[in-house]
Amino acid sequence: MAPVFAYAPAPESRAIVDIAPSYGLFIDGEFTEAAEGRVFKTVSPATEEVLSEIAQAGSEDVDRAVKAARRAFEKWSALPGAERAKYLFRIARIIQERSRELAVLETLDNGKPIKETRDADLPLVAAHFFYYAGWADKLDHAGFGANPMPLGVAGQVIPWNFPLLMLAWKIAPALATGNTVVLKPAETTPLSALFFADICRQAGLPRGVVNILPGYGDAGAALIAHPDVNKVAFTGSTAVGKEIARTVAGTRKKVTLELGGKGANIVFDDAPIDQAVEGIVNGIFFNQGQVCCAGSRLLVQESIQEELLESLKRRLSTLRLGDPLDKNTDIGAINSEEQLTRITSLVEQGEAEGAERWSPACELPESGYWFAPTLFTNVTQAHRIARDEIFGPVLSVLTFRTPDEAVAKANNTPYGLSAGIWTEKGSRILAVANKLRAGVVWSNTFNKFDPTSPFGGYKESGFGREGGRHGLEAYLDV
């Protein structure tokens, strides 16, 4: 019996990132304490180690930040587009130069594997700033008529699953179009946004153009309700999205919402099986499934179900779960205890409803928040795990017999953010994609992002588009 090819640990050094014991709010180009003096701790989900103590924004801080952004708006919006582009290009280059530091930081604060922050998040973050920097002096040619005007102050609230990437999606188009920004990062992942504040200073960005307010939901609510905010952009849960819609109804604020999803990954019997298995894995286990456009419902044609599931289970058995800083880790930690509880409870319901649960043999670390990759078979549309967004590494497998049935089941959800089609037949890709009610339809791939491509949802997955030329519209008075 040959010895096993066991990979030795290959941890990325955390020495490259210097985390201060405490951070303030970033308002008008300065780090300041919160008006009410409140602070909260941010922890590493993989170890539960306290990383830093963060000032917690309240409504008074929101008011200060919005006022600073309003003052800055006068000058910033009056700059020629080419001048704004210079700042954005500078920010993009600094992000590239500091990408290893930011990747380690993001992994520490979020719990996702360094492989993902290094190879997916950070390159995309820089790409978004580069892309929108390119638009800043070409807005006249973006298809919205001559000289489209910025809206004013943008209040932006982002989630914890892609802290820096969601920041880039929000801030890059806002600044390119001449708006100023007050952004609230999630309470479990404030650090990369605060490092971004430092990057803004490094880039010489004028005071008040970008303000960062770490805090909880109350700060987000205050920001969205603030009368002097002209544009609201939110990425997060559908429940909070609905509250936001109620808050801004009747005001003149423009809104975009990127909410939940329950994406269908449809595998036809003529699919490239090995690549489909990779796509399924990438669709649901990327970032521990904590992705709004995750392919969390696998719809597989009945004739190949057995073969596909066998391949999928074998593939899941090779996934490596553990220290997110290890370069060989595929599955990192769940972002917070609260999220872990939610996943656990939904999975227990799935079992109680009679679906069959399977996980590969997998040892979970003793401290931190962990959940093994999980697969549910014998799932039907009537099961809650086929309807609710779990936002964790849990895949529900359903079957279908005909393309029409696949489309009907894929669309039979309150959400409509993403879908995937796997088939070798080009005409089927086009025919099925046209019938799917989802903002993004990937074919023979999954979870591929690009700044030039618009992203957004149907139905309860929200409205508005981010990315691409379409992403400019949300920040322009058109």
Binding site: F5, A6, A8, A10, A271, G279, K327, N328, E424, N444
Partner: protein
């Protein structure tokens, strides 16, 4: 067809009854999405193999090398030197494993056999009108018998790419079974597809299955004589094929990427592909080989560096 590894009772035994039956079978295999395949190969290439895992991988890679010389200018002296090196790759460190085999042209088999006598190193020979394969079957079979008679332990045959590409699958199948028969019980058969000439991944998967159905003991990417030889993607694809073939038939077939693998880093990436695709059952020189000539020296230099902490350079390994 006694030489085929499939027994008379096996459900797959009749797939080669006619060109159309064989075509239906081969074209019914799952397709290959090129972007996805190359993406997966690239992502496995980012595995970080350090310290103990690296030491293990380097020794394993050395033991899997088919140390190769396939030049028109080959001489007995050159082949003897190669054989000596295969048996004791690093004279300064006796713990270095021997390579799996030396790979030579048929007329050099006897010399090679003598050079590696007693070392456990196998002699492989590229018979069948290597590298083009453009000769009559009789000529190819004579080439094989000649090499086997001279003592070759392994025969590396090239398929008729022209026949394959024009859909004459049965011709390719029959040639392989005939060569397998000529190998007898003493030599293992490696079937070379020349993946660079097959051009599409779908073709490579079909060729892999065709080779295995016809009784190949090993499937091998290429001759090393064309522009594109072994790549992580085509090797990954062939590993999937042997894995699936074993799942269906119970028969295990080896894989040999050849040509263009020059550095330890590359070799380790291939071992990661083996480990995470076919699995550890293939992590052994009975089931996986590297067809290479310059790879061994880089493996030896990396091995010395791991042992001593210093990188000594090319003058500290032999030039054969």
């Amino acid at each position: 067809m006694p030489s085929s590894a499939l027994t008379a009772a096996h459900p797959l035994k009749d797939v080669a009854a006619s060109d159309s039956a064989l075509r239906r079978f081969l074209h019914g295999l799952p397709g290959v999405d090129a972007v996805g395949l190359e993406g997966r190969a690239a992502s496995l290439g980012t595995r970080s193999i350090k310290t103990t895992a690296k030491a293990y991988a380097i020794d394993l890679a050395i033991s899997m090398v088919d140390l190769t010389t396939l030049e028109g200018a080959d001489t007995p002296g050159k082949v003897r030197a190669l054989g000596a090196k295969a048996a004791k790759p690093d004279p300064t460190d006796r713990t270095t494993p021997a390579t799996a085999a030396v790979c030579v042209y048929p007329d050099m088999v006897a010399v090679a056999k003598e050079a590696v006598a007693g070392s456990g190193v196998k002699v492989a020979s590229v018979a069948t009108a290597f590298p083009a394969g453009r000769a009559a079957l009789d000529v190819k079979l004579a080439d094989v018998r000649d090499a086997v008679a001279a003592g070759a332990d392994e025969i590396d045959m090239v398929i008729d790419r022209g026949a394959f590409l024009s859909g004459r699958y049965v011709k390719v199948y029959d040639e392989i079974t005939a060569v397998k028969e000529a190998c007898g019980t003493s030599a293992r058969l490696k079937v070379i597809f020349e993946t660079g000439e097959l051009s599409t991944y779908d073709n490579i998967r079909r060729a892999s299955w065709l080779g295995m159905l016809a009784g190949a003991d090993f499937i091998k990417t290429s001759t090393g004589k064309v522009a594109v030889n072994a790549t992580p993607a085509n090797t990954l694809l062939m590993l999937e094929a042997v894995r699936d073939f074993r799942a269906q038939t119970g028969i295990q077939v080896g894989v040999k990427p050849a040509g263009g693998i020059r550095t330890s880093k590359d070799a380790i990436k291939f071992l990661v592909l083996v480990n995470e695709t076919a699995g550890e059952d293939w992590l052994d020189n009975h089931w996986f080989r590297f067809g290479a000539s310059s790879l061994l020296n880089d493996l030896l230099m990396q091995r010395q560096k791991l042992a001593t902490g210093r990188y000594s350079g090319p003058d500290y390994v032999t030039v054969d």
